[in-house]
Amino acid sequence: MTEPRYTSEHEWIRLDSGVATVGISAYAQEQLGDVVYVELPEVGRKVAAGDNMAVVESVKAASEVYAPVAGEVAEVNAALADKPETINEDAEGTGWFVRLKGVDAAAVSALMDADAYKKYVSSLD
């Protein structure tokens, strides 16, 4: 499995044998607080980079989750519907949102790596 890449909007993406898994970063979940609800796209939907792809809600905030790169929704994490707290517990693992197929590997590797994202986050506080 490849190393995750990050966007400035706090999504992570990880490419594994042609399929990219996307979620929100550990930092993002901490900013959001207790996640209470997730709205996921329908499988088969084609998204462009930057498209609003999902919604994640805490008690006091609703945030849009954007597609880090273009692709087609191959699978969504249906387990989040019953256990949205998974995102708080394991944002960059079992708390994933969406799997995209048909993504451009070069577009993924053009995003921030973990170190660059860490520096970016520390610049925000």
Partner: protein, 448 residues
């Protein structure tokens, strides 16, 4: 001025603490050109006696429905409200509280909203309800928007039995959206078939039961047609008292229920404030407009209530909110909740039976008048009759003798020729035998 507690000494001391010489120093940001140098051209303040006198004089120029034999309905219904209702809603802790944003000191409001939501869900046969909207008509407009969000379709079909004010409110709400509204022609006979108006892009069909003309309809076939097409069925019930005896929208397959709770809550009030009831299926809750109270626990583990799912609302979602609604009809919802608590299962059913029985009597009396034909055979407490003459002048003439014979359909359908002889009349538990006889005799007298 009796409502203003600051006196001249207070004002001087407060200005001194602020460090301002005059009150106008605090209005420095107002451009001088826009400051009024003297009071606006209106009368000066008045004592309680004078104000009461002035308002009583205005009130005395009206004829209250209770002072007449009233058969007015058509979207607003006069029911008897037990004395305890008005007493309780005037408790200052209810009357002068705010939206329960601080739940620790608003449990009274939150608990009754939760009870209200439960009552609305029970009587409508739906799964969940919100904490009220402005009125039924604006609730119907919200339902159309909600159906479009749920289905991601553009088409909205409105029945010809939908109250014209509700129909027009839906139309206004959709006017600048990309929705396509189809309105069926007015349906005084209660025979329309809406299934042929349902298309691939139809988000919802909005019907009313009983219709504005009083007809009760079995909506199950329409519900099945909607369901087969992925279209939501919105059932509007302006007269909620009917739900005590009529099969509820949920049981007929409604996806969204919109009711007007005025008759059992705030009363007539010349049209407002009223009480929008709104209920739907649990799976659509995140698309539902308006505030919702939900159950939870406090840090000590004690049961309590909070406003919840507020990420749908404007104060968080701003331009992406499900609706721009902020205020609801809290105090009217309280009146409704108290009234329903007093009625209970037996009282609610009996009230509805009584309304229906009086309406049957009224229908018989009207139908027995020569030249008058009854258009309704299945109804709750309201029927439409066709007169041999124009209805509006008859209504005006009878009003002079304190008989409010009903609502001439021309009031709701101005300019529509075929409506001009139709009269919509309503009875309730407040209607007496004497009232019915006065109506019958007066009508016979005019038509003779």
């Amino acid at each position: 001025m009796r409502y203003l507690p600051l006196d001249a000494d207070d004002r001087r001391a407060m200005l001194a603490r602020i460090g301002a010489a005059t009150i106008d120093d605090l209005f420095v940001d107002v451009p001088p050109a826009a400051r009024l140098s003297r009071p606006v051209d209106l009368p000066p303040h008045a004592g309680e006696i004078e104000v009461e006198r002035a308002l009583s004089a205005l009130a005395s120029r009206n004829v209250p429905a209770g002072a007449a034999a009233s058969f007015l309905g058509a979207g607003a219904y006069r029911h008897f409200i037990p004395a305890a209702v008005d007493h309780l809603i005037q408790r200052g802790e209810f009357l002068t509280s705010y939206t329960p944003y601080q739940p620790e000191i608003s449990q009274g409001t939150l608990q009754y909203l939760f009870e209200f939501q439960t009552q609305v869900a029970l009587i409508s046969g739906m799964e969940i309800a919100n904490a009220s909207l402005y009125d039924g008509a604006s609730g119907a407009a919200e339902a159309a928007q909600m159906a479009r969000r749920v289905t991601r379709r553009a088409g909205v079909v409105a029945s010809g039995g939908l109250h014209p004010h509700w129909r027009d409110t839906v139309a206004t709400g959709l006017r600048w959206s990309d929705a396509a509204l189809t309105t069926a022609p007015a349906d005084p006979s209660g025979t329309e078939d809406l299934t042929k108006l349902i298309g691939a892009d139809t988000a919802c069909v909005i019907v009313q039961n009983p219709t504005v003309f009083g007809h009760l309809r079995d909506l199950s076939p329409l519900a099945r047609a909607c369901q087969a097409n992925g279209t939501l069925l919105v059932v509007c019930v302006p007269e909620v008292a009917s739900l005590g005896v009529v099969e509820p929208p949920g049981a007929m397959g409604a996806d969204i229920f919109v009711g007007e709770g005025q008759g059992l809550g705030p009363g007539l009030n010349f049209g407002g404030p009223y009480l929008g009831l709104f209920a739907t299926r649990e799976r659509f809750v995140r698309q539902m407009p308006g505030r919702i109270a939900g159950q939870t626990v406090d840090v000590d583990g004690r049961r309590g209530w909070v406003l919840t799912l507020s990420t749908r609302e404007q104060h968080i979602r701003r331009e992406k909110a499900t609706s721009n609604i902020c205020t609801n009809s809290g105090l009217c919802a309280l009146a409704f909740t108290i009234h329903m608590a007093l009625l209970g299962e037996e009282g609610f059913r009996r009230l509805a039976r009584l309304n229906h029985a009086k309406a049957c009597r009224m229908a018989d009396r009207l139908g027995a008048i020569k030249g008058v034909s009854l258009l309704s055979d299945a109804f709750f407490n309201e029927v439409t009759v066709r007169l041999p003459v124009l209805a509006a002048p008859v209504v005006d003439a009878l009003a002079r003798d304190k008989v409010f014979a009903g609502v001439p359909a021309s009031r709701l359908y101005p300019g529509e020729k075929e409506m001009e002889t139709l009269l919509i009349s309503c009875a309730s538990e407040t209607t007496t035998e004497d009232d019915i006889e006065r109506l019958g005799a007066a009508l016979e007298g005019t038509l003779r």
